[in-house]
Amino acid sequence: MASVATNIDSVSGSVARPRRYVDRKSLVALLLFVPPSLILFTVFVVLPMIDAGTFSFFDWTGYGPITDYVGFDNYADVLKHRNFGTAVRNSLIVVAISLLIQLPLAMWCAIALSERGTHVNILRTIFFLPYMLAEIAAGLIWKFVYDGNYGLVPIIGDALHTKLPFVLADKLWVIPAIMLVIIWKYFGFHMMIYIAGLQSIPSEVIEAARLDGVKKWKIVWYVKLPMIWGAIVVSVFFSITGALQLFDLVIPLTNGGPQNTSHTIVTFLYQFGILRMKLGFGGAVSVMLFIACVIVAIVYRRLLFRTEANS
């Protein structure tokens, strides 16, 4: 765990540090290490992005040459699509719930489990396990859990002598049901980031606070949280971008249903762009999502990484 902690520290540290003059040694390192990642990034991220941006101005089925230029029509079609608003709303709900419920829960567990010990290790592993599971597998498992005929939910219902709803077929319940899976799946990951941060706090600091008679929650609030601010900033960033890109849990769970009410921006793109062979439409959605992500990243960097630098 210690090595993870230092990694995270150095990551967040280097981001905040002001730029320095590039000396010869680091120039060699730059020339050695930058090209491979730059090439990979260009081939697998930049070029497809430019492609998608190009498609978005054409009417294209995915087959044959791209010739039918339509200007901003695809963008207009996306904005007036009757399911786009729902998809955006759902993505924002996922962001909000992730930040307001998932991260505090992860922090609470991290504080409770940051001391060393066997039982602590077991609990940590249990909480972290869902994160290691493939998204599709997790989605299928929960589809069975929620299945109102053969799943776990009707068994619980029987035990409580009530009839529980078919959550994935219910417009009201479907989003909370998906949110539960998301929290279950990812809170362990954020917990681990926090634990790594907490363990890097020098024990003397906590000791000193304790000797001064500071209450336990005050130690958390005034000592621990400020000292792992870097870890929190990183985890919030992962949480937001992850939520905006949510796709592979939703597909096996609901495929966007019932009645296209549980789409996220990305499942919307897949369903109405790719599967319906309207790649230009899909391109327009992806460009919008990209712009949204870039704005989030820039604003976030300005706001949070800077406050970190100041502190």
Partner: protein, 418 residues
């Protein structure tokens, strides 16, 4: 020494291609183990007779197949032969030049065996033939005789729409789920809309609407189809949670004897067994087929059927060996094996006679006697319009959209593509 070795290596490399087998890849959708076994046997047989050919049978699940095919066909990894439902998607592929025209290389005997309908189904608007027809399929109302008896319901009473609704209500009153429906996949719901459109608009009405003539799909018969669909949906005839159920879930639900009826293709005969908990499904003597109810004043012909005329397409890098293999694989003699086992209804002339399964025999007769055998609407109309038809059908089944709005959404989608 070194030179000798080099020369030997070069020699080997030159020889290698001559000895190498031609690999023929047939990308398929078969998921029933017995059917896969039968396919493998046939492939092995062909490879034994033609040692220069290696047949590979890669598989993709239905939905994954549709999603992946676009990219696959434009890559060097394109399979030589792949499954096709014909219709709008096939026309797009032909237009894009990702298919190989085969009318010159295919033998006349093979074309004759497919019949004119089969040849027409795999001939694109450009006049070229790009594939071979394999089978016909029909969407029918499967019903469970035991559950009908339990509710005291006479299947004959369901021949008209009013009788049909009354029968559904009777089943509900007896505490039996009338229909299984897998609306998560959406296309099972679109069979309802399609059957109603066939009854109400008929062939001419449908073709005119698909071409965008007049009011198109916002015309009266199509709005009416939505209204009839809503009448049925208002009775809440589907199993609970049908909106989260896939086709496989619904098929298993019917196969387990938990729903009285399932509007589904003839392939569900095998699939409902495979999807049922016991793997046995409903025994033949308790299984029946109901004719879809007639609707008074509808423009459709009572013999009209809905279904498919599916087959194979050749990708543009398909080898001559691939065409030769498929000619054999799709011949009457091989088709008969699949027909006999009840996996599909073969299109090859006379091959259907090999079928012993009474349900398949009846369906085969239905189709050959049909005034109009309508292709699956979501395939015939292409993916963009078909997708909207599927969307609104799932919403109609849930009683979550008005008939007028549903019809207009379909018309809008057609207008977009024109």
């Amino acid at each position: 020494m070194k030179r000798l070795a080099l020369a030997a290596m070069l020699g080997l490399m030159a020889l290698a291609p001559a000895q190498a087998q031609t690999v023929v890849k047939y990308l398929n959708l078969a998921s029933i183990p017995a059917e896969v076994e039968l396919m493998k046997q046939a492939a092995d047989e062909y490879m034994a007779a033609n040692p220069n050919v290696k047949i590979e049978l890669p598989f993709l699940e239905n939905e994954a197949f549709k999603a992946k095919l676009t990219t696959l066909l434009q890559s060097p990894e394109a399979p030589d032969i792949f499954h096709s439902w014909g219709g709008g998607v096939f026309y797009e592929q032909a237009k894009a030049g990702v298919l190989r025209p085969v009318e010159d290389i295919l033998s006349q005997a093979a074309k004759d065996e497919m019949g004119t309908a089969g040849v027409a189904a795999f001939t694109a608007p450009d006049g070229h033939m790009y594939g071979m027809a394999r089978d016909v399929a029909e969407v029918v109302v499967w019903y469970n005789k035991t559950l009908f008896a339990q509710a005291g319901l006479d299947p004959a009473s369901m021949a008209t729409w009013d009788g049909f609704l009354a029968g559904v209500q009777k089943l509900k009153d007896a505490g039996i789920t009338p229909f299984a429906l897998g609306a998560k996949d959406k296309w099972p719901a679109h069979f309802w809309w399609s059957k109603l459109v066939i009854r109400l608009a008929g062939m001419d009405g449908f073709n005119a609407a698909a071409a965008g003539e007049g009011d198109g799909f916002a015309g009266e018969p199509f709005v009416k189809a939505g209204e009839y669909f809503l009448q049925l949906a208002a009775l809440e005839p589907w199993q609970q949670g049908f909106e989260a159920a896939t086709y496989g879930d619904a098929s298993g639900y019917f196969g387990d004897g938990k729903a009285a009826m399932h509007l589904m293709g003839d392939w569900d005969y095998g699939a409902m067994k495979d999807n049922s908990a016991s793997k046995q499904g409903i025994p033949d003597d308790q299984l029946g087929i109901l004719p879809f109810p007639t609707i008074e004043g509808g423009a459709g012909d009572p013999t009209d059927t809905l279904g498919g005329l599916s087959g194979y397409l050749f990708s543009k890098n398909a080898s001559d060996e691939a065409v030769k293999f498929l000619e054999w694989y799709n011949s009457k003699a091989v088709q008969e094996r699949f027909g006999q086992a009840g996996f599909y209804i073969p299109i090859a002339k006379g091959a259907a006679d090999s079928m012993t399964n009474p349900f398949k025999v009846q369906i085969g007769k239905d189709i050959s006697g049909a005034h109009w055998h309508a292709l699956f609407f979501d395939q015939a109309l292409g993916p963009a319009v078909g997708g909207v038809v599927n969307d609104v059908s799932a919403e109609l089944a849930a009683n979550a959209i008005g008939a007028q709005e549903a019809a207009e959404l379909v018309k809008e989608a057609v207008d977009d593509t024109l």
